[in-house]
């Protein structure tokens, strides 16, 4: 990863972490404060992203919404990746027949469109932040599990591990010293790619009215609420959507810079 790429990625991550944890630093106003008389102001000096149907400042809400959206994105990816690590590693290290069984299960989960799986989970748990995390996490897990499995299988059959066998290393020491550390780096890249997609998924659920409850300024919810005033106030949907694209694109860039190869997410 070239030096400039490293600096840019760190800046990008620092900005969004700051925004997520201390939004007041960048947007001091209260994202929930309503001011009906100021409703539907176009982007201007006072309100760079304009105001929404209740007169709330869209810029403030986008900044404060970062915490909600990134929280869901990170938590969902962690859940999805955690599950994938367990399933993928098990499949890769297991004897042939167990590998075949897990592969078939993954194939089955993988063949059902992830949104259908998310909807089934939401129907079971009801809408909200927690269920959105579980839904996005579970529906992306099969994709990750397949990648983890292939990653660990290539490592398992690598010359490096054979050399370690010849040097007399036991299975446990080979896994701890060589297999896991070398599997982590590409997986880390995959995780960053995953975060971008997870933020989009969470927003999609809010778009369908199944994600974060009002009045939280989660990007997907804002975008979904904004689309009914599309003709009158395009900025209500445009800027939260832009924030999603910036985060997702940024995450992909950093993921690729970390060496993550684009595979099926």
């Amino acid at each position: 990863m070239s030096r400039t790429a490293k600096i840019l990625s760190l800046l990008f991550i620092a900005f969004w972490v700051l925004t997520a944890f201390v939004p007041a630093l960048i947007a001091p106003a209260d994202p929930l404060a309503i001011n009906p008389s100021q409703a539907f102001q176009a982007p201007s000096g006072a309100h760079i992203f304009g105001t929404d149907e209740s007169g709330r400042d869209v810029f403030t809400r986008v900044i404060h919404g970062a915490g909600d959206s990134l929280y869901i994105g990170l938590a969902a990816t962690a859940l999805g990746m955690g599950l994938a690590l367990v399933l993928g590693t098990a499949a890769a290290l297991a004897p042939r027949w167990l590998d075949e069984v897990i592969l078939r299960v993954l194939e089955a989960l993988y063949s059902v469109p992830s949104l259908l799986m998310a909807l089934l989970i939401i129907a079971f748990t009801g809408p909200g932040v927690g269920p959105a995390i579980v839904a996005v996490g579970l529906s992306t897990a099969p994709g990750y599990a397949r990648l983890v499995r292939s990653q660990i299988r290539t490592l398992k059959n690598s010359e490096m591990l054979e050399a370690a066998t010849v040097l007399g290393r036991g299975t446990w020491r080979k896994v701890r010293n060589h297999l896991v550390p070398n599997a982590l780096q590409p997986l880390l890249a995959l995780v960053t790619l995953g975060i971008g997609q997870a933020v989009i998924w969470a927003a999609a659920l809010s778009f369908l009215g199944l994600g974060t409850p009002p009045p939280a300024p989660e990007w997907g919810a804002m975008l979904s609420a904004g689309r009914t005033y599309l003709h009158l106030a395009w900025w209500l949907s445009f800027f939260p959507g832009l924030a999603i694209v910036v985060v997702a694109a940024g995450a992909t860039l950093i993921g690729r810079a970390l060496g993550g190869k684009v595979k099926a997410i």
């Binding site: 078939r104 299960v105 194939e107 089955a108 989960l109 993988y110 063949s111 059902v112 469109p113 992830s114 949104l115 259908l116 909807l119 089934l120 939401i122 129907a123 079971f124 994709g143 971008g196 989009i200 927003a203 999609a204 778009f207 369908l208 975008l223 979904s224 689309r227 599309l230 003709h231 395009w234 949907s237 445009f238 959507g241 999603i244 694209v245 997702a248 694109a249 992909t252 860039l253 690729r256 190869k261 684009v262 595979k263 099926a264």
Partner: protein
């Protein structure tokens, strides 16, 4: 004979997968709170009397013990009898017949457009200078990061409300298809391009590309005869996943552009706890995924007989 063995394995695998999906849905949907009988009578708000709820339960076999319900369910599936949809009162198979074609049609066109765009972008990236490469790279990554629902809304705003070139809503004409297909195709194209560009670069920098140049072929001919094939291979492998992601995207796009299709019935079926419909849709999309995977694998074996075995 080898083909028969491959086909046998494929069908066997497919049946196992479909069985797993059916079982998962059978269990999953029953975990959803709310009384299925109510769903039959039109949702919990219905004023259906206790007696009406009872005969709905018996008619749909919901009063049988769970295990026999499961085997009854499997037996009917084998005879391709998906049961009757609670909300539409019509056989699921018939509804799927009406609802599946437009979605598959939309997904196929989106896939084709995504492929064309990806190849074009990969070719441009190959010929472009340093700045062109960077620009191409950025376009890919942003395209892959755009959520369908935002893109759809922006496209409607731009091309229909402001410019008025294209209809906002599907009206059966070709023009009505442009925006929905673009909304689905652009993010996928961004994804495929990143894939194709990597494999294209390796192919164009390879020894056999040098050998081809040494035979007097121009860069473009080398791309046409060698680069294209190598660029397409990995993207082909992803088509199965791409197709199922298009089905997910269809839920949103069909709502925004008011197009009939699997997507819309999917969401309504889940929210209305319409168990037969949900099972039908899940199995159909799983079947579509498996068929697409088998097709792409067959094409892959054509292009790269050696590679397929590894």
């Amino acid at each position: 004979m080898k083909l028969l063995a491959w086909l046998g394995r494929k069908v066997g695998g497919a049946l196992v997968v479909l069985w797993l999906v059916a079982t998962a849905i059978f269990i999953g949907v029953r975990l959803i709170p709310g009384d299925p009988a109510e769903a039959i009578m039109g949702g919990p708000g219905s004023q259906a009397s206790a007696e009406a709820l009872a005969n709905a339960r018996s008619e749909y076999g919901l009063d049988l013990p769970i295990v026999s319900q499961y085997f009854l369910f499997l037996a009917k599936l084998i005879r391709l009898d998906f049961g009757t949809s609670y909300s539409f009162k019509d056989p699921v198979l018939q509804i799927m017949g009406e609802v599946l074609p437009p979605t598959i049609n939309l997904a196929l066109m989106a896939l084709a457009v995504a492929w064309l765009l990806a190849l074009l972008l990969a070719l441009l990236a190959m010929r472009a200078n340093k700045f062109g490469q960077l620009l191409g790279n950025a376009v890919e990554i942003v395209a892959a990061a755009v959520p369908h629902f935002w893109l759809g809304a922006v496209l409607i705003m731009l091309f229909s409300s402001m410019l008025g070139w294209l209809p906002a809503v599907a009206n059966g004409t070709a023009a009505g298809l442009v925006l929905p297909v673009l909304t689905l195709a652009l993010p996928l194209a961004g994804f495929l391009t990143q894939l194709m560009r990597d494999s294209l670069n390796t192919a164009m920098g390879s020894q056999f590309a040098l050998a081809a140049r040494a035979r007097g072929e121009s860069r473009l001919t080398v791309f046409r005869r060698h680069g294209l094939r190598h660029a397409a291979l990995p993207a082909l492998g992803l088509t199965g996943w791409a197709f199922s992601s298009l089905l997910s995207g269809a839920v949103v796009v069909e709502a925004i552009f008011a197009r009939p299709g699997l997507g819309r019935s999917l969401l309504s079926a889940v929210l209305a706890r319409d168990i037969p419909m949900v099972t039908g849709i899940a199995l159909f999309s799983a079947l579509v995924y498996i068929v697409v995977m088998a097709l792409t694998e067959a094409i892959e074996r054509l292009i790269d007989p050696a590679g397929a075995e590894s």
